[in-house]
């Protein structure tokens, strides 16, 4: 028997009630809010903290908040953080060890109670990014137990995209502005002459249960049509697109491209692209001791392939040049990710373009690689056998 799935309409007080119900369940509600000139993700004590009346204008290396007359809450593009800041935090203690007076070591695994999150306003690109991180961190033989616990307990409320930004390209990555799976509830914001409201669809039993506890109106044709056409229109308004080629093959065949030198000249190797990327998952582990030498801890921290220490082996870093580090990032993201995890590592959210201080554009780099490759073999060294 198929599970019951409801479509309904929430007004603004319904949205307030949604947050209250989730908080009443003991959940930590996280969603977009305005801080320091950007829409960031933070714990919300009320739906009133959402960025009502704020839009965003983005370009490569540039992000600005702009006021919106319609008062919409979800009319902004992706900000500097993604949900990985909560599911896959930048720093996590894994275990500690103490040496007793008798010299015996006692190891304590860190298994703190994980917060039960409710994410409000997850973009469809970010839903796909969470699914990618699920495969990386919670799938396979050695799942990250902290990630899995937080993820299993998380309640996801999607906000379909009706205002894509100039750096968005999810459609060309096989996604789109609509949410079709992977959520508990999906909202589509509608602001028109009939008022400010949210078409809501449940996507799970947990979503169905929460929706039942929130005052809502029945779905109506006008709201349904407005919601669908806003999402359809968004599909046509993506600011950017990846070149329509097999990116996996393109990157695999571009290892010696001249373009890597060109991008390396512009790349600061600052690591921002990997930090803002919603799928980049790399961590390092560090052991630290205290002054007494009788207490040690192991911490997991976000790392980045742009960090020289990332590939540090005896004798130095394997990827010392900016060229080799950028190439590693892009090749992994668009190509070898398939080999490892069965999909692309890119969902087209555009964060790496917006938040790169010098505005390096992943779609432009892919297009340049494609142009170089399709122009034939410009160099004799391309004829050399693979080393």
């Amino acid at each position: 028997m198929p599970d019951r799935r409801t479509t309904a309409v929430l007004d603004l007080s319904g949205l307030d009630a949604l947050v209250e119900v989730l908080r009443g369940q003991g959940r930590t509600v996280v969603g977009p809010t305005v801080r320091d000139g950007a829409v960031v993700l933070a714990e919300l004590d009320s739906a009133r903290r959402l960025p009502f009346g704020w839009g965003t204008e983005v370009e490569a290396g540039r992000y600005r908040l702009v006021p919106r007359a319609d008062g919409a809450a979800f009319a902004h593009t992706t900000g500097p953080q993604s949900w990985k800041a909560f599911l896959h935090p930048e720093r996590e203690k894994l275990w500690s060890v103490d040496r007793g007076a008798d010299g015996e070591l006692s190891v304590t695994e860190e298994r703190p109670p994980q917060p039960s999150y409710a994410f409000l306003g997850v973009r469809p690109c970010d839903l796909r990014a969470i699914a990618v991180q699920d495969r990386v961190l919670a799938g396979g033989r050695y799942p990250d137990s902290g990630y899995r616990e937080r993820r299993v307990g998380a309640f996801l409320i999607a906000a379909e995209c009706t205002e894509p930004g100039a750096t968005c390209f999810c459609v060309s990555m096989g996604g789109g502005p609509g949410a079709d799976a992977g959520f508990d509830l999906a909202l589509t914001e509608v602001v028109d002459a009939d008022g400010h409201r949210f078409r809501v669809r449940s996507g799970s039993d947990a979503g169905e249960e929460v929706l039942a506890a929130v005052p809502h109106h029945p779905d109506d044709p006008a709201t349904g049509t407005a919601a669908r056409s806003a999402v359809d229109a968004a599909r046509e308004r993506m600011g950017r697109a990846m070149p329509p080629v097999d990116l996996r093959a393109l990157l695999a065949g571009s290892l010696e491209a001249e373009r890597w030198d060109d991008v390396a000249a512009r790349c600061l190797t600052c690591g921002n692209c990997t930090m803002v990327c919603p799928t980049c998952f790399c961590t390092t582990t560090e052991e630290v001791t205290d002054l007494t030498g009788d207490h040690a801890e192991r911490w997991q921290r976000w790392d980045s392939c742009f960090d020289l220490d990332f590939s540090l082996l005896h004798g130095g870093p394997v990827r010392a040049s900016g060229r080799s580090r950028y190439r590693q990032w892009l090749t992994h993201k668009l190509s070898t990710w398939y080999d490892q995890f069965g999909s692309s590592g890119c969902v087209g959210c555009g964060r790496c373009i917006t938040w790169c201080p010098v505005g390096i554009d992943i779609t432009e780099e892919a297009a340049a690689l494609q142009a170089e490759t399709s122009a034939g073999l410009p160099h004799d060294d391309r004829e050399e056998p693979r080393r």
Partner: protein
Amino acid sequence: MTVSAPTLAVFKLASCDGCQLTLLDCEDELLTLAGRVRIAHFLEASSAVEPGPYDLGLVEGSVTTPDDARRIREIRAQCRVLVTIGACATAGGIQALRDFADVEEFRRTVYARPEYVETLATSTPVSAHVDVDFELRGCPIDRGQLLEVVTAFLAGRRPDVPNHSVCFACKRRGTVCVTVAHGTPCLGPVTHAGCGAICPAFGRGCYGCFGPSGSVNLPALIPLLRRDGLDERDVRRLLRTFNATAFDPPGRDTGADATDEEVRP
């Protein structure tokens, strides 16, 4: 404390004392530290001095006089492990601005009896004179990082002091990028992490007090600083502060288009 506790010595060359003061600033950990090492030479804390050799030497300050240059060799010879602390010791400090100017002219202009002043034409990091086991950056150094270095030395391990950019720290702490979102000039992308990205957290750009990160592409950053309102002179001034010669070595083209401006007293 036991007789066999490793000995710690703190030395100072040309500097403001702020970095060695950081050691005294470790208030909560100071007693534990004093229980783990024997502080054998630390003039800022005590005039009682034990003779070397020492197990761990911390050196603050840059080499600016012939006497410093001689003394640092003696210090090196006395210390099993030598760690330099702060922008002066690791990069020459703010006093390395002299490297861009005519020190002889300073001496004549500033001092009534210039013949009393014996100084070198440059201010150089300790590593330009002797082998250094570890360089801890910052103006001043970070208290937590200093403790980490001392702790790592005691445990015989590598200190956990990453040399990536300040951008890593901003993103980890959730600070909105001041360059991308506000158009504020910021040296974060080329600056060594370690401070915890304090300045951007308060909405201002990084001014590079921890010196260059392990991976710097200054020619890529300078057009950004110019776009965000700094003229040639401003860019030069931003680069030439506490780590002047590390970011912008005299005679090397960093892309700042810096025809060396004459520095006058």
